[in-house]
């Protein structure tokens, strides 16, 4: 059976997302190792002075390009592919999606100019009253609005498909992709309100001051579900594509996969206070309620762990795998896409452990803003997500361009070097954080660093060096593939795992949108409403802006 064909124009459109994403990763990832080297005492920043004024300008470039631009562009491209391919229909209104994409591109350029000019050295959290040039906030707004517009294009496409196919179970990949885009629309309301009602008018001189506590609250309304916006596309691949690639396995449970996605939609926003446990202006009772909901959102990740591992085990057994663990060796490790995603998944176990610990209410007192935190999110967004996206690109780029993946062995080596480099880097960051080292500090220069941190800071540098090599390998493979003269003979097969149980048997309530959407909005109003009402009622726009870099 021939697979559904995307038009050349659609492939180009999805490919443009990949292009921007990878360019952002290329520039952003240059600065990651520089930070790590600085920690080990090898400070290259003085040599960069003509272009990059400080460690913090580099850190801003790294955070904005890697955590915001690389992820958002890759995700919007991947979701667009998933929706059209799985629904076997073109976008309902391709012009709308194109408008969204170009808004995002203009936004990135608008934000990049002040960042590169050292006029927006505010890191990717841009906490006021650090005050960036207005173009930075305009750029961020355009990126968010552009991603909304692209999301609307996906919703319209899904609705059109539903109209054409009433009473049919939606394909999991399309369902989950639309849900991810929907989650993003709901949660970005926080940062949209933050920028439009405070930061932008303030940076334009229309208002004198801002309320930093309220700004943080808006920010983290978006900030935690942002994590799920990053993760869910990787989950889609792990659930529904990776088992097929790893050894022709099937998805262990279609209904539980859908159920876990619904729980993510409902629970990922109303728990933002777990990033604000030690903020002075949020009442502890609400922090506690959010912490309990955080324990709740860990549950669908536990379900995901089971379903994904079981689907992979199914693949491993099919390939003749035996024993309690030996089947893992039978998975298709020689395929770089598989190797990258399996290694990403392994480190995500540890990312999950660190995340649960951070989010455990008062346990956060031990960890808040220590190096443990970047140690943690380099396992999640920088490995579970990023290494999975790299793995996806190892089949997606050949699929889109019709060019053969250049040197798959190098690509396998890329996955392993990322894995090893990240273990060394992240382990050291977690431990030095537990010893008290703060995050966001050039620790190579800080006056208070005790001798006991030094061996760990050295390991941070070593990990960074290995990651630098891995990043260079990835970019080489991507570039060489994009320019590869060797074409694929047939269109690359898109890996789609069937479900073990016919999805038609999945209960209807797992394929109905309205109750879940109303439920998630109601929960947000319930656990954010009273605090936000109080904060807005007592708003104090007393903080003028500062440019302290």
């Amino acid at each position: 059976m021939k697979q559904y064909q995307l038009s050349t124009g659609e492939k180009k459109f999805i490919g443009s997302h990949l292009l921007v994403a990878i360019l952002a990763l290329a520039v952003g990832s240059l600065f990651g190792p520089l930070q790590a080297f600085e920690h080990a005492g090898w400070d290259f920043y003085p040599y960069l002075k003509p272009f990059i004024k400080s460690y913090y300008q580099g850190l801003t470039v790294h955070g904005v390009l890697n955590a915001l631009v690389w992820t958002t562009f890759f995700i919007m491209g991947f979701l667009t592919f998933n929706v059209t391919f799985a629904l076997k229909r073109p976008l309902k209104n391709p012009t709308l999606n194109k408008v969204g994409f170009w808004l995002m591109v203009v936004g990135v350029v608008a934000a990049a100019i002040p960042i590169l000019a050292n006029e927006a050295t505010v890191l990717f959290t841009f906490y006021p009253p650090l005050k960036a040039n207005w173009a930075f906030y305009v750029g961020l707004t355009l990126v968010v609005v552009g991603s909304w517009v692209e999301g609307w294009g996906l919703f319209m496409t899904f609705a059109a498909w539903r109209k054409e196919n009433p009473n049919v179970r939606s394909p999991f990949v399309a369902f989950a992709s639309v849900l991810t885009a929907l989650l993003w629309q709901i949660c970005t309301l926080g940062v949209a309100v933050e920028i439009l009602t405070m930061l932008l008018p303030w940076s334009l001189g229309l208002i004198e001051g801002v309320d930093p506590q309220l700004a943080r609250t808006y920010f983290w309304f978006t900030g935690h579900p942002l994590v799920y916006f990053w993760l869910l596309p990787a989950y889609i691949s792990w659930y529904a594509m990776l088992p097929k690639q790893a050894g022709n396995g099937k998805m262990f449970s279609d209904s539980l996969a859908r159920l876990s996605f619904w729980i993510f939609l409902v629970l990922s926003t109303p728990l933002g206070f777990h990033h604000q446990y030690v903020d002075p202006g949020v009442p502890p009772v609400w922090k506690f309620i959010h912490s309990m909901l955080t324990f709740g959102v860990f549950f669908p990740s536990m379900m995901t762990a089971f379903t994904v591992v079981a689907s992979l085990e199914h693949a491993g057994r099919k390939q003749g795998g035996k024993g309690a663990l030996a089947w893992i060796g039978k998975l298709n490790w020689s395929d770089p896409s598989v190797a990258a995603q399996l290694l990403a998944g392994i480190l995500f176990f540890f990312g999950g452990i660190g995340g649960l610990t951070n989010a455990s209410y008062n346990v956060n007192l031990v960890l808040h803003n220590t190096a443990f935190i970047p140690g943690h999110f380099h396992l999640t967004v920088a490995t579970a997500v990023t290494l999975s996206f790299m793995g996806i690109s190892y089949w997606l780029l050949p699929y889109l361009t019709g060019r053969k993946l250049w040197n798959p062995k190098w690509a396998v080596a890329q996955a392993w070097t990322w894995f090893i480099g990240m273990i060394i880097f992240s382990n050291a960051m977690h431990i030095v954080g537990l010893q008290g080292a703060p995050r966001r500090v050039p620790l190579g220069l800080a006056p208070y660093v005790p001798a006991e941190w030094n061996s760990r800071l050295f390991q941070v540098g070593v990990g960074g060096a290995i990651l630098f090599i891995s990043g260079a390998l990835y970019l080489t493979v991507m570039l060489k593939t994009a320019l590869n003269k060797e074409k694929v003979t047939e269109e690359v097969e898109v890996p789609m795992a069937e479900a073990m149980q016919d999805p038609a048997l999945t209960p209807d309530w797992l394929d109905r949108w309205a109750p879940w959407i109303y439920g998630s909005l109601a929960l947000i109003v319930l656990v954010y409403g009273p605090v936000l009402f109080d904060m807005i009622k007592n708003i104090a726009l007393t903080s003028p802006g500062f440019r302290v870099w």
């Binding site: 762990a305 663990l325 540890f350 455990s360 007192l365 073990m500 016919d502």
Partner: protein, 46 residues
């Protein structure tokens, strides 16, 4: 649909998954508890 497949899959018991997840859970509890004890050892904040 695919009756034959279903029979094969019905016999699939994810024992290896239980093995993997057991290792995961032991690690999770160990790390979480270690940090929790650090917190408790440092004492109250009120």
């Amino acid at each position: 649909m695919a009756k034959k497949d279903k029979d094969d899959d019905d016999e699939f018991r994810p024992t290896g998954t239980i093995a993997v997840l057991t290792i995961f859970v032991i690690t999770l509890i160990a790390i979480w508890a270690t940090i929790y004890w650090i917190l408790v050892g440092r004492g109250g904040t009120l």
